[in-house]
């Protein structure tokens, strides 16, 4: 097994105790922990480089701008963007998708146009489109799921019809762990002249990403799910799409000229970055991709396959435990949702917490998917680079304790 356990010393929080037990952090699909390299980069920025970017005519402001733009370049390299100008800093994946909805969707959609999503989307890739249908009269259509929890693409050519303008799909479900059918979605969109969007929040952190090879028009992701800070994310867009997209927010930094009644915009990507951006966070984001690149994203993916395989093996041995997601680790990432007998997921989370194990319980911001699954909630254990097989064993022991407390025979 690939051993990344030497990384654990980089994450100070992993040495904490919870309820008297060592913290077993299994909620990285919600947010990952942060290594000292990221914390130090942000600290260094504030101690030595802090100034506002893109406007100061003094050396310190130039250094701050270099740090900010340097981070953009690192992130562009990390996803193999054609140019760093194709990387827009946003607040988060949610903000990035909203920006496409309000900057592209609002100006291109007409009544009767179709936006195609899937049943496993996070609310971040559902609600912005619902809001846009109110403004435009466009309609939503959904790709369903197969019995083995993958997006069903058998009728994608019918769902993505000639009225479709947008196909927006998750690269990996935050609930099921399933990879989304990105290649099929991109091809179906192209065939009808629609744009394609990948919600990469769970994809980009976990495997090598080449946005040029993916072929989509937009890919959105968040720093905080890939050892970076909260408050910053990225929207990669194909240059021709970014050129035709309008700014969804106006303000300082994003203009070329402002008259009393109208304005002109700065160049891509700055026209999408209104106001003072999250500069220190962007610098931390850059340090995060440096950290992941030093490990190697192919190694990250291999580790996830192995720890997910081990977790699935151990969890399926527990009586009355139901896993919601594919059982083949090659078809999925490291977020594993489950229920145990008639124990409500919140009760499970409380019991696991007493053993130091942090898992998510609830609808995971995917209520349409919960309805498809026919459950009000699931528990979810999600793994990242710093998790080790022994932590799976702690989880499994705690689940047996839950069975005892609830008297599950």
């Amino acid at each position: 097994m690939i051993d990344l356990s030497h990384l654990r010393k980089d994450f100070p929080i992993l040495s904490r105790k919870m309820n008297g037990k060592p913290l077993v952090y299994l909620d990285s699909a919600a947010t990952t922990q942060k290594p000292v390299q990221v914390l130090d980069a942000m600290d260094h920025y504030y101690r030595h480089l802090n100034a506002n970017v893109h406007r100061g005519a003094y050396l310190l402001a130039e250094e701050a701008t270099d740090a900010y733009e340097g981070a953009r370049k690192k992130i562009a390299g990390f996803i193999n963007a054609g140019s760093e100008r194709e990387v827009v800093f946003t607040r988060s994946t949610t903000a990035a998708i909203n920006h496409i909805a309000y900057g592209w969707g609002l100006y291109h959609l007409k009544p009767g146009d179709r936006i195609v999503l899937s049943h496993m989307e996070h609310h971040a890739n559902v609600v912005p489109w619902q809001l846009i249908t109110r403004h435009t009269g466009a309609e939503l259509a959904y790709l369903p799921l197969t019995d083995d929890y993958m997006v069903d693409t058998s009728r994608i050519g019918e769902v993505v019809d000639d009225k479709t303008q947008i196909v927006a799909i998750s690269g990996m479900s935050n609930v099921l762990g399933s990879f989304g059918p990105v290649a099929e979605a991109v091809a179906a969109a192209r065939a009808v002249g629609a744009i394609s969007i990948v919600d990469g929040a769970q994809l980009v952190p976990h495997s090598p990403t080449d946005v040029q090879a993916l072929g989509a028009d937009f890919v959105a992701f968040s720093a905080h799910k890939m050892v970076g800070p909260t408050g910053v994310g990225a929207l990669w867009g194909r240059m021709e799409r970014l050129e035709e997209m309008e700014p969804a927010e106006g303000g300082g930094e994003m203009i070329r000229d402002v008259q009393l009644t109208e304005s002109t915009w700065a160049e891509v990507p700055h026209k999408f970055e209104a106001g003072t951006p999250p500069i220190a966070e962007a610098v931390g984001f850059g340090a995060a991709v440096d950290y992941l690149s030093a490990i190697g994203m192919d190694q990250v993916r291999k580790h996830e396959i192995e720890i997910t395989r081990y977790a699935l093996e151990k969890l399926t041995e527990i009586p009355d435990l139901t896993i919601y997601g594919p059982l083949d680790p090659e078809k999925r990432g490291a977020a594993v949702s489950f229920t145990l007998a008639d124990i409500h997921p919140h009760d499970l989370a409380t019991i696991l917490d007493q053993e130091g194990v942090a898992v998510r319980a609830g609808h995971h911001c995917a209520k349409p998917l919960m309805r498809v699954l026919g459950v009000p909630a699931t528990a979810r254990a999600s793994f990242y680079i710093y998790n080790v097989p022994e932590e799976v064993d702690v989880l499994v022991a705690a689940l047996h304790e839950a069975r005892r407390i609830f008297g599950v025979a």
Binding site: H344, H346, D347, T350, I351, Q354, P376, A377, I405, G407
Partner: protein
């Protein structure tokens, strides 16, 4: 072991076999409560005659604490006047540390026993779960306030 204090047998019993989980036609007071963060739901229907609760129905979906709390509540309030229900709500909220003061479960005081409801005291050690136990009571308060 504090987990065993939280998940007492009486809690699990009410969770698995909720009392008064039916439906009351043309109820005199109703309310629906939700905790949007965790998705717990509870619906309350009350029959009230001459200022007294003569029947109650409590249905819902959610964790053992919220559902058992609702079941025990239904058991307890049938037969009480609305003023007595109001007093009970505040005693339970004191028991759950939501409101300050003594919940008044001194065993020497006549009529002070809360019965099964005392099992909810275990939730005080789990602050994130207090809102689960409180959901049916907050919903009951809403149902009663609607009838003034």
């Amino acid at each position: 072991m504090s987990l065993d204090e939280l998940y007492r047998q009486v809690i699990l019993d009410h969770y698995r076999s909720p009392r008064h989980s039916g439906h009351i036609e043309k109820a005199d007071a109703t309310a629906e409560g939700q905790n949007p963060l965790c998705g717990d739901e509870v619906t309350i229907e009350l029959r009230i005659e001459d200022g007294r609760v003569t029947d109650a129905a409590v249905r819902g979906r959610g964790c053992s604490i919220s559902q058992a709390s609702g079941s025990m509540m239904a058991d307890k309030i049938v037969g009480l006047t609305t003023d007595e229900v109001d007093e009970l709500i505040h005693r339970v909220k004191r028991l759950l540390d939501i409101e300050p003061g003594d919940p008044g479960v001194d065993p020497d005081r006549p009529g002070a026993k809360l019965g099964d409801l005392e099992a909810l005291a275990g939730v005080r050690r789990f602050p994130v779960r207090i809102k689960c136990a409180d959901l049916p009571w907050a919903t009951l308060q809403e149902a009663l306030s609607a009838i003034g």
